[in-house]
Amino acid sequence: MNIPSSITTLLIGILLTLVSLWYGQNHGLMPVQASEEAPLIDGLFNFMMTIGTGLFLIVEGVLIYSLIKFRRRPDDDTDGPYIEGNIPLEILWTSIPAVLVLGIAVYSFEVYSNIGGLNPMDHSMAHGHQTHQTAMAMPGSAIAATLADASMADPTTNNQQVAEAATQDPATAAVRDESIPQRKDALSLGVTAPRLGSTPDKQGKLPELVVNVTGLQFAWLFTYPDTGVVAGELHVPVGQEVLLNISANDVIHAFWVPEYRVKQDAIPGKQSELRFTPSKVGEYPIVCAELCGAYHGAMKSKVIAETPADFDAWMESQKLASGDRFDRAVALNSSEKSTDEFLSPFVSSWGVNSSTVQQLQSHQLHSAHVHPFAS
């Protein structure tokens, strides 16, 4: 085999390494890092990008060089040299990818562990905090369980009232409506439900904020079990670890915040968890990543990361608003009004817009129609 002289190889090797190292760090392909997990994932990506760039340049370089250097001359009808193989060379290029892959695997394992992928013990602790065990014993769907969390929070606080209000307001009532297909006898704490647990430095500590997330065609609903606040957008305080208890109401959805680099499927009949720590104030899109029907592309929401003070202020305003709602919900006979009429005053404060409600309703009809065997 016609290996070029060692000096040239060395120089090309150095150049290749430098280019790969530079591009691996400066590709500019990722969005901003807005969670504490993001830099870890990006570090892993940059590492793989460096190796990938090197491999890409080697392969394309050899191909382009061969294309020019080894093309057949018009008057040359002879064959190339008879070379069948070269055992040391083959061992070399088997072991190099093997070592690289091992490196990537070890690094991935490390990152996975650091973003909390390997802490199954957190699970029961987090739920112990929310009296999930009680919820589990009760018959009810995943969403019912998430709402039950709220109603069964510490009775010494006034959360219960607020939580009941939340369970009675039309949007969540629609979610809990019998006609929407959901697994009635679900063990909402499915043992196989996937999760990202807490990061090693936060292991054993309770998450600072718990939010119950429900995906439904075609919206996200966020319930804050400690206060009973229900919202269509996710508000989180920066610098605090957030635990999402994710469930789905009808079909599979996937909760994804690109700027946070985390994604978790919401699976009907199962409860899954996602933990992350927002690190940057701002608004970021929440995307449903799993195909969930015709309006899949429109199933969007926002995560609003605020300073803890702003977050508390928002929470207070929501508590007041939902308190109002509760009073008015009791005062008015809601059955005299259509859901849409009833909802209209609250549309802006919830972030659940009227099209969401429309979709909710149409889905309700749809699923009632197509599920003759649902119950």
Partner: protein
């Protein structure tokens, strides 16, 4: 080359061999493996064009962020049927069905496949399966993606979904029958003297592929039958409303559908291993490494399925298990890529269209391979799963890999199949347009996915408009690139220069018979005399110069 032609003209009796052209046999139940192979090839190219039109409709919709070209429901139907057509009616039938059937008996020196009638049955399941799938557009095409995850697949477009299930079952049955035939043919019908370690690399690839098909396709059939029960009868295997588990479907589905990507790419690896040495005029580098790595990929391919489920139903330790298994596949694949590069290195490259597509295959497949290792990393996959990064990755593997490979194979064996040469100028135009269009269409998708664009959506954030427009323009160039190809094929079949038996100077058995081969393939049973990849040796030069008769005579003497 001219010398071969002249030699051949002098051989007595040679003129009597090519039979009369009879187009009717290509539309009837023939048991000749060559007819069946060409039937597969033409049918799958037809569905390639159909799938391509569906893709263009999808890209046209995505040219703007709003939903303005088709309805959302139709959009979901378009990409679902696009994916199903491209996988089950284009790449699999073209790679295994067409090239497997056409080449394997020729390349191992047999007169036909082991079970010619079964072979014909396998082919004749394809057209009705395909037409059935198309008919779903009349009742509302299935809109839950080619993965058809329940519960979504149980609640939307149920008639279309039922049709989808039935048609995939029919197409899967066809694949299973084909695989049985390949295994028996390769193991039992090789010409005397052709041991496993001397047989062409394409046979190794098809052996590995067929094993995968037999092991995994029945599991898909099981999943689809259960899904069909849920859909039609109202059982609750996968329906959470009745206590079923939708994640179980994902396990069963991916137990087939991940190996399916190797079912699509392994035969192409085989084709490339046959094409590169012929046009580089060098022996394949590391025969055994390439052969055994096919088997390794086949085995490892069976234990990686859960990497599609990193964000859904897998416990943490399982994620790590599947992450490492998946990454390990990069090793045998890397062996192949480096062996191909070493085959090219120092050769005398004849840069005709077949070679350009073969080299284009290597260069593009590498990008898909690198992004494949990236998505196999569980923490990184938590970011990019179900995004355009994955769409880019899979198109680099399946278009840059499989489609480039099928094109290379088509150009390489066109003279053998039709007895005519292709027009190289049109071929090069086809290559250049395909290469540019392909990269323009799919390279920006990597960035789109990383930035936050999810897949399977008709509307998207306006901040992604520019890159999507580039992708759409690239897809149009890709569509245009098919025109010179079709013109070339159509024109060359009737008006191309007459092809000699061995236009490229190849050493595998199919080049020892006439172009096109007679019904029984060989006048005399060919016997293996020199290595199939012994380019650069004096014997090989003599065999090629002397033309087919010498080799056959030499074979007959032993």
């Amino acid at each position: 080359m001219t010398q071969v032609l002249q030699e051949e003209a002098k051989v007595p009796g040679q003129g009597a061999v090519p039979e009369k052209r009879n187009w009717r046999k290509y539309f009837s139940f023939s048991t000749d493996h060559k007819v069946i192979g060409i039937q597969y090839l033409v049918t799958s190219y037809f569905f390639y064009l159909v799938g391509g039109l569906l893709a263009e409709a999808v890209r046209t919709e995505l040219a703007t962020p709003e939903v303005d070209f088709v309805s959302r429901e139709l959009y979901n139907g378009l990409f679902t049927v696009h994916a199903t057509v491209m996988i089950f009616l284009w790449i699999v039938p073209a790679a295994t069905g067409a090239f497997g059937n056409y080449l394997i008996p020729l390349i191992i020196g047999a007169r036909d496949m082991a079970f010619p009638r079964l072979n014909a049955v396998a082919f004749w399941l394809i057209p009705p399966g395909g037409l059935l799938l198309m008919s779903s557009f009349l009742v509302g095409a299935p809109g839950s993606g080619w993965t058809s995850y329940p519960p979504l697949s149980l609640v939307t477009d149920q008639a279309g979904q039922a049709i989808w299930i039935l048609s995939v079952l029919i197409l899967g049955t066809s694949t299973i029958l084909g695989a049985l035939n390949f295994i028996v043919t390769i193991l039992k019908m090789r010409s005397p003297g052709m041991t496993l370690n001397k047989m062409p690399l394409f046979c190794w690839a098809m052996l590995a592929t067929s094993a995968l098909i037999l092991l995994s396709t029945p599991v898909l059939a099981g999943a689809l039958i259960l899904l069909g029960f849920d859909l039609i009868v109202g059982t609750a295997f996968f329906n959470p409303t009745g206590g079923g588990d939708p994640v179980v479907y994902q396990h069963m589905f991916w137990f087939y559908s991940h190996p399916a990507v190797y079912i699509m790419i392994l035969p192409i690896f085989g084709l490339i291993s046959e094409i590169l040495p012929v046009h580089a005029r060098k022996p394949i580098f590391g025969y055994r490494a390439i052969a055994y790595s096919s088997i390794a990929i086949s085995f490892l391919g069976l234990i990686v399925w859960a990497h599609h489920m990193f964000t859904s139903g897998t416990p943490p330790w399982l994620r790590m298990f599947f992450m490492i298994n998946t990454m390990v596949i990069a090793v045998p694949t890397g062996i192949k890529v480096f062996s191909w590069l070493a085959t090219i290195w120092g050769g005398k490259l004849r840069l005709n269209t077949a070679m350009l597509f073969a080299m284009g295959f290597v260069s593009m497949f590498v990008i898909g391979g690198i992004s494949g290792v990236m998505v196999s990393s569980a923490p990184f996959d938590l970011h990019v799963h179900d995004t355009y990064f994955v769409v880019a990755h899979l198109h680099y593997v399946l278009f840059g890999g499989s489609v480039f490979g099928i094109y290379a194979g088509t150009y390489h064996w066109f003279p053998k199949m039709t007895g005519r040469m292709v027009n190289e100028t049109l071929g090069r135009i086809h290559f250049v347009l395909t290469f540019i269009g392909f990269n323009l269409a799919f390279l920006p998708m990597h960035k789109l996915g990383l930035e936050g664009m999810n897949r399977r959506i008709a509307e998207y954030d306006p901040k992604f408009t520019t890159l999507n427009l580039v992708c759409t323009i690239g897809s149009y160039i890709l569509a245009v690139s098919v025109i010179p190809f079709l013109v070339n094929m159509g024109w060359s079949i009737f008006n191309g220069a007459k092809a000699p038996s061995n236009p490229w100077g190849g050493l595998t058995f199919e080049w020892l018979t006439t172009s096109p081969p007679p019904p029984e393939n060989f006048e005399v049973d060919p016997v293996w005399t020199i290595g199939l990849y012994d380019y650069g040796t004096e014997e090989a030069t003599e065999v090629i110069k002397a033309g087919p008769v010498l080799a056959m005579a030499a074979g007959a003497e032993t």
